[in-house]
């Protein structure tokens, strides 16, 4: 069966070979391309099958050609010169000289010789660390040393073992690859891991935005102020308290600054100020701006007395001039 070889086919093949030789010097490449052009013309003139049938894939053809011509194997020349330049720069720096001196040291040499022995251990460890990181990123923590996955320690254990096995397998196969290919793979893997990490942290932010009043709302997620519009405080007898200032364990103000209620109605709230005139958003309950005091829309249960003498909370009255710890108007991002 003869398929006529067309000019566009030759052009495509030529272009692919040229691309595969792109790292050669212009002179070497053009010399070779001249030969390739006449070769393809001769092969096409025979009219026995397509170029690929006769000569194989263009990049294989290019690899065979440059290898037979005694030119460097694809990519290696540029990479070597790049890394050689870097190594030279490092070696001539003071740090490089110190390192060179250190590597003369016998113990250092022994230690370096020992490093490859540690590789399998590292493969196992990184498998474990990968699952641990994943679990931490999704805020699942760990049961003892076993990372939780899907809120299950068993699943975490299984995944950890799978990751260790995969990591060791990867490590062994990795060693079989030429260094050039290793770097390419490492780059791809790093990109994927970073992508997953950023996706997961974005996801984590949403999760942590549940109304957790002990932490200020994360700057980006407004959901605390969305869902939480006011706080009502009562004493043990169920008496409403006013002018209550709330702080977390670090003395940071717990602010509520929502300006819309759950139904989307705009809230006009009074802004309170310290005696020194600093506006604060951690005084509760928040009062409507029209000045009319807002009674709590519900009544709390009364508390049974505790065993000991229960100290009743002492609270500064509304508008009181009690000393205020420096309020931090900026919400602190949650460290989860």
């Amino acid at each position: 069966v003869t398929a006529p070889t067309t000019a566009p086919e030759i052009e495509r093949y030529l272009a692919a070979v040229r691309a595969a030789l792109a790292d050669l010097s212009t002179e070497d490449r053009e010399d070779l391309m001249e030969d390739v052009a006449s070769h393809l013309a001769d092969v096409a003139a025979e009219g026995r099958g397509t170029l690929e049938d006769r000569l194989g894939k263009p990049w294989d053809y290019a690899a065979e050609l440059r290898s037979a011509a005694g030119l460097p194997v694809a990519g290696r020349a540029t990479r070597q010169s790049w890394s050689a330049g870097l190594s030279a720069a490092v070696a001539s720096s003071p740090v490089g000289r110190a390192l060179a001196a250190a590597s003369e040291n016998r113990q250092v040499r022994d230690f370096r010789g020992f490093l490859p022995e540690l590789r399998p251990g590292w493969w196992v460890l990184r498998g474990y660390l990968a699952v641990l990181l994943l679990s931490a990123v999704f805020g699942e923590g760990s049961a003892g040393i076993i990372p939780r996955v899907g809120n299950s320690a068993l699943l975490g254990l299984l995944l950890t073992m799978a990751a260790m096995w995969g990591s060791v397998r990867l490590g062994r196969r990795w060693q079989a690859h030429p260094p050039g290919k290793r770097w390419a793979v490492a780059g791809a893997v790093t990109a994927v891991v970073l992508g997953v990490f950023f996706l997961a942290t974005g996801f984590g932010f949403n999760r942590s935005s549940s109304p957790d009043v002990y932490y200020g709302p994360p700057p980006e997620s407004a959901s605390v102020s969305d869902s939480l519009t006011n706080i009502y405080a009562f004493d043990a007898d169920g008496h409403p308290l006013t002018g209550v200032q709330l702080f977390d364990q670090d003395g940071k103000a717990i602010n509520v600054t929502a300006s819309y209620d759950a139904n989307g109605n705009e809230l006009h709230m009074q802004r309170r100020f310290t005696v020194s005139g600093v506006p604060v958003d951690n005084v509760f309950p928040r009062q409507p701006a029209d000045g009319i005091g807002q009674a709590p829309p519900f009544a709390p249960p009364r508390l049974a007395p505790t065993a000991g003498p229960s100290p009743s909370p002492s609270v500064a009255p509304s508008g009181g001039a009690s000393p205020v710890p420096t309020p931090t108007p900026t919400p602190t991002p949650s460290p989860r």
Binding site: D31, L32, E34, D35, V36, A37, S38, H39, A41, D42, V43, A45, R54, L55, G56, Y61, A62, E64, L65, R66, S67, A68, A69, G70
Partner: protein
């Protein structure tokens, strides 16, 4: 034995030998090698070898206009090429003899094939 591997070592010699008979252009050399029974060699290997021998100064080249296609670049042996052919022929013959005696080809193989 993988013939392709063997060929790698002697392709230079084969190409030099072909060109010693008569000058030729790339595809002509490919065809003449095939006709001589060297089938496994890839076209690209032959073209690459020609390029390397030329760069090393073993070949001279000249362009011949062609009526049917592009101009053809012919290669021929120069003095250095002829010297290289002589040296390599010598080492090949020596090597082949060594292998022959190692394999007892002279006696053994003849007996075997006679049966």
């Amino acid at each position: 034995v993988d013939t392709t591997q063997l060929l790698k070592g002697v392709l230079d010699l084969a190409v030099l030998a072909v060109l010693a008979e008569e000058d030729g252009y790339g595809y002509d050399v490919v065809r003449r090698l095939r006709a001589a029974g060297i089938e496994e060699v890839g076209d690209a290997s032959v073209y690459g070898t020609l390029r390397r021998l030329f760069t090393a100064g073993n070949l001279s080249s000249y362009v011949v206009p062609s009526e049917e296609g592009p101009h053809r670049k012919y290669y021929g042996l120069n003095a250095a090429g002829r010297a290289a052919l002589a040296t390599q022929t010598k080492s090949w013959t020596g090597f082949a003899e060594t292998m022959d005696s190692l394999l007892h080809l002279d006696s053994h193989f003849k007996e075997e094939s006679a049966k």
